[in-house]
Amino acid sequence: MTAIELRGVTKEFADVTAVRDLDLTVEEGEVYGFLGPNGAGKSTTIDMVLDLVRPTAGTVRVLEQDATADGVAIRQRTGVLPDGFSVYDRLTGRQHVEFAVRSKEADDDPDALLDRVGLLDDAGRTAGGYSKGMRQRLALAMALAGDPDLLILDEPSSGLDPAGAKEMREIVRAEADRGATVFFSSHILEQVEAVCDRVGILREGDLVAEDSVAGLREAVGGEETLEIAVGDDADADAVAAVRDLDGVSRVDRDGDALVVSCADGAKTRVIGALEDAGVAVADFHTREASLEDLFLAYTEGDAPGAGGEDPGEEGVDDTDEADAGDIGDTGDADDTDEHEEVGR
């Protein structure tokens, strides 16, 4: 069974085509990350799934029903955390959740939902005084009402601090474990990798890639990045020797280390060449291409899946850092480089 099915969906606004002939399938029970830079058409797509926007062409089916004709029935079984929403300033947090529970004809205890998102202590305050993060939590509590079969979360982490973003991911996992399908959009890549079974990347209204994170990584190219601690030993000759090796695409000097991008099998040859050149290799480790590299490869590269984009080029992260927001998560001991998340 499919939770969300878009077939040949196009949406043209007066001045721009936001989505172009989009086919998208989200299977029941999976966690699907919908990725793309700002302005790629993510929100328009989600708005069409929610029947806030009607497609110019194509069909949108949600939970096997027509998004427009059966919108109310669909939303009865769907929890939504919209993007760019606002709350009712004069109503309390509890009143908001009570309204959601009543609207869905559910029998949840509003306080239990508020507790789940960490908002119970502020439940009696009017939502007008809530911070952005609290409003986000409030909308999540409303979305969770009625144990929905499908959760649609549009940029769920916006406005949340790292701890809040982590709680958000834990709730997503818990909902997925319960059997719910989760569809969420983000431009924050690490969060997608941390929870998603499958990822779709949208670029200028086209779905340019759709796969598991591992699959995408493979498609971008089997390159890995070697970081070799060489101290002051490595002179220009040694660097040139490494650069001349088969399978090595790039060598950069980074302080006391050499950063080498090379094919999977070339690792031993690189170390060997360095030792032949009289360089003492103190330590080395490999890094996988980070999601950010993948993302840039798909959203800025000339052709989707082309390995030409160098995955080690900039802002390289160790993917073990996937839970970037986790405070106190020491992760891999090799994780020394700080990184910026795109678009934050």
Binding site: R75, Q76, D83
Partner: protein, 276 residues
């Protein structure tokens, strides 16, 4: 059926606004001033006279419709601009539920303001009557009249919510609401008179199975303000839905129902096809 849930939420939201207290205070103050001016202590006091000669023309038929427009105009467009409409429509509500839920919720809130505003001075008048300072205060007439005032308010809330649903922005909704107000309060007689005159001159009325007089009367009661005036005066005179003018009254009632339902429907027709 989620209309009641929306109506209740909107009612809660509206009655918590500061404007509600101001409204109640304003209504109370004006009724009290009229009672004092038109029926000084010790003189003949006629509840019906106070209502039909003072409260009616100065408060009910001018201020109440305006308040209805103010309460209703941002019902949908306001939520659309702020983004809370996304939160609302992410729950299992149809757009029809939203529009008519708003009419019900805001209509109820306005009615509450009218009742509270009218009843506070009524309690004082009632006490004065009991103490003998003024002659009999007719509680029945007063309460009944308050119902008509609330009905007129609800009609204008419905018209304004209709404008609000059709509008893309708050400004459009406000312009639509105020234009309707100006039309019914100030321009209706002149416009319909001209229309009728022109139609008569062009010989359009002759072939119709109704007289020019009948059309003229219909156009009068088609204005919800005139309609409520007609009905409330009939009520105060003990002639409600009876006597010679019963047909006219039925027309007035029909038109009030029409104005409560048609504008929200028209607004919904546009709102339902919009991208939000």
């Amino acid at each position: 059926m989620s209309l009641p849930a929306i109506a209740e939420k909107d009612f809660q939201d509206t009655v918590r606004s500061r404007g509600m207290l101001i409204l109640v205070a304003l209504f109370s103050l004006l009724v009290a001033v009229f009672a004092y001016v038109f029926a000084p202590p010790g003189e003949q006091f006629a509840t019906e006279f106070l209502l039909s000669a003072a409260v009616g023309p100065f408060l009910v038929t001018t201020l109440v419709p305006l308040v209805g427009v103010v309460v209703g105009y941002n019902a949908v467009s306001g939520e659309r601009e702020s983004g809370s409409l996304k939160l609302l429509l992410s729950l299992p509500h149809s757009r029809a539920d939203v529009v008519f839920g708003k009419v019900a919720g805001r209509g109820a809130a306005l009615s509450l303001a009218v009742f509270a505003g009218f009843l506070l001075p009524a309690v004082v008048l009632f006490a004065l009557a009991q103490l003998g300072y003024i002659q009999a205060f007719n509680v029945g007439s007063y309460l009944g009249y308050t119902v008509f005032a609330a009905v007129l308010g609800v009609v204008f809330v419905a018209i304004a919510v209709g404008c609000s649903a059709a509008a893309r922005t708050q400004r459009q909704a406000l312009i639509g609401g105020v234009a309707t107000y100006v039309l019914f309060v100030m321009l209706w007689g002149a416009i319909t008179g001209r229309f009728l005159g022109a139609a008569g001159d062009a010989g359009l009325i002759g072939p119709l199975p109704v007289s020019q007089q009948q059309i003229s009367v219909f156009l009068q009661v088609a204005n919800p303000i005139t309609g409520v005036e007609l009905l409330s005066n009939a009520f105060l005179g003990g002639q409600l839905l009876s006597g010679e003018a019963v047909n006219q009254q039925i027309s007035a009632v029909s038109m009030l129902v029409f104005w409560t339902i048609a504008p929200p429907l028209a607004g919904l027709w546009k709102f339902d096809t919009d991208d939000l």
